[in-house]
Symmetry: C2
Subunit: 486 residues, 2 copies
């Protein structure tokens, strides 16, 4: 069994330094674990009180009555060595250390980290951190961050990285804006023990994880990393966000987590060779994650576009080649079907500018006829509909996408909400993504996500190979999709 299993699915968890005071980190962790519905035993440890959030509190980890699968030590960094000793005596073998001030702040911290890790290794304790806010697992209801977190929408995407943002700010953003379902999150901090390689090896064989995304500032064991990445990317789609692209960035990384960032080009080549996909920033990471979570991988590089505006067609065309995609010329049958919507003087092309058709027949019929004509074209492998959120183009967007998804479950669909009213934008995005249709703010972003999916498929890697077993052709109603948070 992977050492990581206990960090995500422990049978019992102790919070050392738990607190009765709302706002304190030691209070928040207990609250988060309760909020996420953890079904195992929770042991707050604090010699100064007897009960925390309705749970009995213990004076020391040694007094906890049952076995402790996972401990979180919410203590000042100077008490970490004592914590290791206590955990060793109590038989705890998995420990999260949230405290910062170790290798993340210079020579003195590095020395302290070395001592802590020496003691942990001697006691057989696996450590996440220091400077780590730990893990989230929606399946077993664990959530160890030191900042409050609302229960998250469960799903197939697992994320990890040095940064605590994945289980704090980004977790909230995903929950309230991006809406894809989370399986597991790990914030690795200084990676004094558990690191990217452990995570990749663990998630590669984790059946409930269908998409992996991770952020790294640099890895320490290049050979093991390549092996772990190749194995994971062979099993499911893997998205890699690597910072340290510039010298300035690498310097900042050194002072932040003490990691050596390494040559950026080497990483790019390695990631591609392993069959994973490098993304440029968190926006792209989430854009791709949701498409991979909700939509099938495209069988080819042909994209059909139906757009309310010629500008949408131009911007899409301008970025297609950058993402390895093309717009196949509509087949004769497709042209015939498109002609049913378009005024005589408007050419039936792809990308299709349907403004004149909207003026003539209204948005519902114009989008419906042209989109289904393109989706029926055998050379079209994915379909994008571009909208502008103005009163003149209002329609029930799932009346368009629902039938398309049903008639072509094998073709990924995406929506572009290119501009218009911000309130309509939020409402359309919620409707679309609540139904598993990824919605992007520009044609470029939609094509970037489709290009990533195409690349993951072309390599013969990713979920395509294992589609029947681990990924349904399309989850048109994603888990909890109808239970939108706001």
């Amino acid at each position: 069994m992977s050492a990581l299993e206990k960090f995500f699915c422990p049978g019992s968890v102790a919070v050392v330094g738990a607190s009765r005071t709302p706002g304190k980190a030691g209070h928040t962790i207990v609250r988060n674990i309760l909020e996420f519905g953890f079904r195992g035993d929770i042991y707050p440890v604090n010699p100064g009180c007897e009960e925390i959030l309705g749970l009995r509190s213990y004076a020391s980890i040694g007094e906890v009555p049952g076995p402790v699968d996972l401990a979180i030590g919410v203590l000042p960094r100077r008490q970490t060595l004592d914590l290791i000793t206590e955990c060793a005596h109590a038989g705890v073998r998995s420990l999260i250390i949230p405290a910062a001030g170790f290798s993340d702040v210079g020579a003195e911290g590095r020395e302290l980290e070395r001592e802590v890790m020496e003691a942990a290794r001697a006691a057989g304790i696996r450590v996440m951190g220091p400077n780590s806010i730990g893990t989230v697992c929606t399946g077993c209801g664990i959530a160890t961050p030191i900042v409050t977190l609302d229960r998250m929408r469960p799903g197939g995407v697992s994320l990890f990285g040095q940064t605590g943002m994945l289980a704090s700010g980004f977790a909230r953003w995903i929950q309230t804006s991006e809406r894809f379902g989370i399986n597991k999150i790990a914030c690795l901090g200084n990676k004094a023990d558990l690191d990217e390689n452990d995570m990749l090896e663990y998630l590669a064989t984790d059946d409930t994880t269908r998409v992996i995304g991770f952020y790294t500032e640099g890895v320490s064991n290049g050979r093991r990393f390549a092996e772990a990445l190749r194995a994971a990317a062979g099993a499911k789609p893997v998205l890699v966000l690597k910072s340290g692209r510039t010298a300035g960035g690498r310097k900042a990384i050194a002072s932040h987590t003490g990691a050596l960032a390494g040559s950026d080009e080497v990483y790019s080549g390695l990631i591609e060779q392993c069959g994973a996909r490098r993304v440029a920033d968190f926006e792209e990471l989430f854009d791709c994650a949701k498409a991979l979570e909700w939509q099938p991988l495209p069988a080819g590089d042909g994209v059909g576009i139906v757009s309310i505006t010629g500008l949408g067609c131009v911007l899409a065309a301008d970025s297609a080649s950058r993402y390895g995609l093309r717009f196949p010329r509509p087949a004769p049958r497709t042209v015939e079907a498109m002609r049913g919507a378009l005024p005589d003087w408007v050419p039936a092309s792809n990308p299709a500018d349907i403004w004149a058709a909207i003026e003539a027949r209204g948005p519902k019929e114009a989008y419906g006829l042209v989109a289904s004509a393109l989706a029926d074209d055998p050379d079209v492998h994915s379909l994008v509909a571009i909208f502008t959120l103005i009163p003149e183009s209002s329609l029930d967007v799932m009346e368009l996408f629902g039938p398309l998804a049903e008639s072509h479950p094998e073709k990924p669909l995406a929506a572009v909400l290119m501009s218009g009213d911000a309130l309509m934008y939020a409402e359309w995005k919620r409707t679309l993504e609540g139904n598993g249709i990824p919605a992007y703010h520009s044609p470029e972003r939609a094509l970037r996500a489709l290009g990533a999916m195409r690349a993951l498929n072309r390599k013969g890697m990713g979920a395509a190979d294992a589609a029947p077993a681990t990924q349904p052709a399309r989850s048109i109603t994603p888990p909890l999709g109808s239970r939108d948070v706001r």
Copy 2:
């Protein structure tokens, strides 16, 4: 006087093809002009009715009692030639042609456009279009689009381009999400007559326009374009969004507006040589426009960053050099002031990771002390504060930015709302931008905007030269900033 003056500030306007039917383009235009508070005469022209939206309607443009400074002909493309004849007889010299189906759709349309333009030239009529939804001018209350538009926040930014999106979808997006103030908008369509060059020449000397942004798919007269761009960029900041970066994009452009896109590299070099700034997409165009509208140009390339998360520091550092910016090491006095907020073990560096300070002193004091220390540093020329919208870091954000803006009116400020709750994001963005502080969704986007401002200043071009006359050091309360739409 520029031929364009009558398109933005006419004393009277006729809508040929005006309609009593809500939803029809000929109805919408009249409605828009009323909505924007136009103070001149409005003449609906429609032989089939006597009154439209409370205005007397005329049977033909020849029967209109007063002079017509500007006509908009909302007619099928086949009636355009007759319209030119009528306008010529009635003495109309400025005409907007919204109809599409000219050079935008192929050979037959090109021939029709040629005939129309020959007749217009013979009659001395200047044309915007065909395939143009015309202009917006918040100053005189003109708004000619064929889709409904709500009255816009007035300000100093003027935008133009082929696309009608600028006065429809993007106009709504700016109004409801981006919030910078609009001076003028022109949608040039097929540019059979008036084009980018006319617009640049006009806006260069238009005193109320303080920032110019435009989208182009290609220009016809390179020499005149270079001259016009250089003159405009010498007078105020100019942002250029040019599509047709790829062969696929250029092909799409040819079928959309019939323009020849030209070599992309030539454009990049030309734009830079002229002292303007090329932007990559509409997101960057708006990101930069708002910063230029609200904030002063930075005197140098030194950026100070205060961030709730080390990740924000790394991402900022990673993109700084790409945008020609650097993070100066804090001066001894700055370090001393920062130390007042930071725990002993946290280094006083720039970018400054203040999470430990927030834990120790709360967000208000931590952000306040570190940000003002950095802003006081003479080597820091602009300041960025990075937030994560989680309950633990809640603060009154204008209590932070207000004093900074007051003590350093010469230094541009920006906020990064990096992640967190989507509702908090919308609220913070509204508060910040209602007070003239641009808010971005990632460190990369904030630095990209500051980099553009720095480049515009370094070239000795843009508003810096003319700052006292045309641009206040900072409009901390932008026009209508407190009158947020939603």
